[in-house]
């Protein structure tokens, strides 16, 4: 024990260090992660504090201030009703982040449940996967458009529509991860030593599906926000007078040549939010799954 080489202590320390801690530290040193996380965190704070930050009510119409270009009193200018665009974009952030987050959580849960069921129960596998294949045969935005239109113009319809559109991809990812883990020796060993299926699923299979699902959901967050904006732009998403980035652009479009600022700022907001989530997804993919070579 005394003649341990110089390299050994370092190796031992590396083994002893808890794995989660290392991942977190590497994430904090990852440039894409830092940029993405900072932007999305700032947007989330702005969204939460919107009523405190916003200078006026988002739907307050003041006709004498119509079409004011960006200036000190109206940072992003005003629209055809004299509504303050900065305030409206700020309130739009709440809706967009809420829809994106809700779609992430609900589709993530459904994907995890359906994916694990498909991987665990051979008899349900083909039924579930054929249904997912069928849902995937429609372009996501078109499927969401049809469902949102049928359910009626409400925030909940948009969330349900996008959730259904994005579940199939999630189920495939969870199922693939679960199938891989299931064949691992330690899971087989747990099975042989008499662990119940529920215990195996909860202790071994679900935790191993978490990383790929998390990376996937970060991208879904971005896609869902872009899709919500597109649906609202087309008129089947969030309805005026509730401000959403998509419907501010739709309203501003008619005046785009005379009052470019109405549609410019919400577009920048969407792009920033999607950009930060994509950066975050790349970074998480890099860190959690070395096979996905993303950002750096």
């Amino acid at each position: 024990m005394t003649d341990v080489g110089i390299g050994a202590p370092a190796t031992a320390a590396a083994i002893a260090a808890p794995r989660g801690h290392g991942t977190l530290r590497r994430l904090l040193r990852h440039r894409s992660f830092l940029i993405g996380f900072t932007i999305i965190a700032l947007l989330a704070i702005l969204a939460l504090l919107a009523p405190l930050i916003a200078p006026v009510d988002p739907s307050a119409m003041r006709v004498r201030f119509r079409f004011r270009p960006p200036q000190a009193a109206f940072w992003f200018g005003t629209d055809q009703f004299g509504r303050d665009i900065f305030t409206r974009v700020l309130y739009g952030t709440r809706i967009s982040l809420f829809v994106g987050f809700a779609v992430c959580v609900v589709s993530g849960l459904c994907s995890a449940i359906l994916g694990v069921i498909a991987a665990q129960f051979r008899r349900l596998d083909s039924a579930i996967m054929r249904l997912m294949d069928a849902l995937m045969s429609f372009p996501a935005i078109l499927l969401a458009l049809g469902i949102a239109a049928a359910l009626g113009p409400r925030v909940s319809s948009v969330i349900i529509a996008l959730t259904v559109a994005y579940i199939p991809a999630g189920v495939r990812i969870v199922r693939a991860a679960a199938l891989t883990v299931r064949e691992m020796d330690y899971v087989q060993a747990a099975q042989v030593s008499g662990a119940s299926s529920l215990r195996i699923v909860l202790r071994h299979i679900l935790p191993n599906c978490f990383s790929p699902l998390l990376v996937h959901l970060t991208f879904i967050f971005a896609y869902a926000m872009l899709a919500e904006a597109a649906l609202s732009f087309l008129g089947v998403g969030i309805q005026p007078p509730i401000a959403s980035w998509g419907n501010i652009i739709a309203e501003g479009r008619d005046y785009a040549t005379q009052a470019w600022w109405v549609m410019l700022f919400p577009g920048i907001a969407i792009s920033l939010a999607a950009l930060s989530l994509n950066l975050l997804g790349d970074a998480l993919g890099d860190m959690l799954d070395p096979r996905l070579k993303g950002g750096e």
């Binding site: 054929r130 249904l131 294949d133 069928a134 849902l135 045969s137 429609f138 372009p139 996501a140 935005i141 078109l142 499927l143 458009l145 049809g146 469902i147 239109a149 049928a150 359910l151 009626g152 971005a222 872009l226 904006a229 597109a230 732009f233 087309l234 008129g235 089947v236 652009i249 479009r253 785009a256 040549t257 470019w260 549609m263 410019l264 919400p266 577009g267 969407i270 792009s271 999607a274 950009l275 994509n278 950066l279 790349d282 996905l292 070579k293 993303g294 950002g295 750096e296």
Partner: protein, 302 residues
């Protein structure tokens, strides 16, 4: 193909998603009871659920995808009439996407960790993050209103001359391809990074092949397999994106028709069109699978 059957049933269920009485919703708020009754009969909603499903599937088997309520036309002919527009848009955008996306992705992979890689990947990231409908409106303002290079809206069929067709389609197709280029460049980069680290690339270099032959032939050819897989996703993105792009550029395609049908509550038209598109994608995926097997002899489907 059980998937085709499931798609048919899903499209059928779309109508039953409507909360309340579909006949009343479709006929509109001001419709008389007689008009509602007529819509009910027209849609076969007076029959039982299973009977309706049976009739729907029976009609589909005979190639009858239903009829539009507003267009006075069968769904099949309505879609057929608008197909050239959407097809032009999708084909042109994929035509832009594949060379540009593959080139950019390979460039980034070859010059990994240099400024070229960073620049290309930033552009690709912007491509997948900026909403198409927004950049489309900005594009119309810049290229049509300010510069007057291309018409701001409308479609010139290819029969009116390739030049006019291209002019009417170039901007919409280019904007539609921005997301796809970003997507494909990111995908190509990671595929190329994978391939470039393989032993046979080192062997190719060691035996003195030129860089051009090594990267251009050996590496790209292997990355091609991945690109074939991506085509299915790209086509899906192109058709999905065309719904929005056609709306902005007022192009009379399938996407614009679906949005109009939704606004006019013409649910049979929505249902039929979704179904036709769903079938199309099943076919596309099948073709992609076959090409995949041909391009990569290691893959053998059972």
């Amino acid at each position: 193909m059980p998937v085709i059957l499931i798609i048919s049933i899903l499209a059928f269920l779309l109508l039953s998603l409507l909360p309340g009485d579909p006949a009343m919703i479709i006929a509109g708020d001001q419709a008389s009871p007689a008009a509602i009754e007529q819509v009910r009969r027209q849609l076969g909603l007076d029959r039982s659920f299973l009977e309706q499903l049976g009739i729907w599937l029976f009609n589909l088997a005979r190639g009858n995808f239903g009829s539009s309520l507003i267009l006075n036309q069968s769904v099949l002919s309505a879609v057929g009439e608008r197909l050239p527009v959407t097809l032009s848009l999708a084909a042109l955008s994929i035509g832009f996407t594949i060379p540009v996306g593959v080139f950019l992705g390979s460039l980034a992979a070859y010059f990994r960790r240099t400024w070229i890689d960073s620049a290309v990947m930033t552009v690709a990231l912007l491509g997948v993050s900026i909403p198409a409908f927004w950049i489309a409106i900005l594009g119309v303002i810049l290229f049509s209103v300010q510069l007057g290079w291309v018409p701001s809206s409308g479609f010139a069929p290819i029969s009116q001359g390739v030049g006019r067709w291209f002019a009417s389609m170039a901007l919409p197709a280019l904007i539609l391809s921005l997301f796809q280029i970003g997507f494909l460049a990111r995908m190509t980069r990671s595929a190329m990074l994978d391939v470039l680290s393989q032993d046979y690339i080192r062997t190719a270099r060691a035996k003195g092949l030129s860089e051009w032959r090594t990267v251009g032939k050996h590496a790209l050819r292997n990355a091609l397999i991945l690109i074939i897989t991506a085509t299915g996703i790209l086509l899906s993105a192109a058709i999905g994106g065309s719904v929005i792009i056609e709306q902005v550029f007022a192009l009379p395609g399938i996407g614009r028709m679906v949005v109009q049908a939704i606004m006019a509550r013409d649910y049979p038209l929505v249902q039929g069109t979704m179904l036709i598109l769903g079938f199309t994608f099943v076919m596309i995926n099948l073709i992609v699978d076959i090409l995949y097997t041909l391009a990569d002899p290691r893959v053998r489907h059972d």
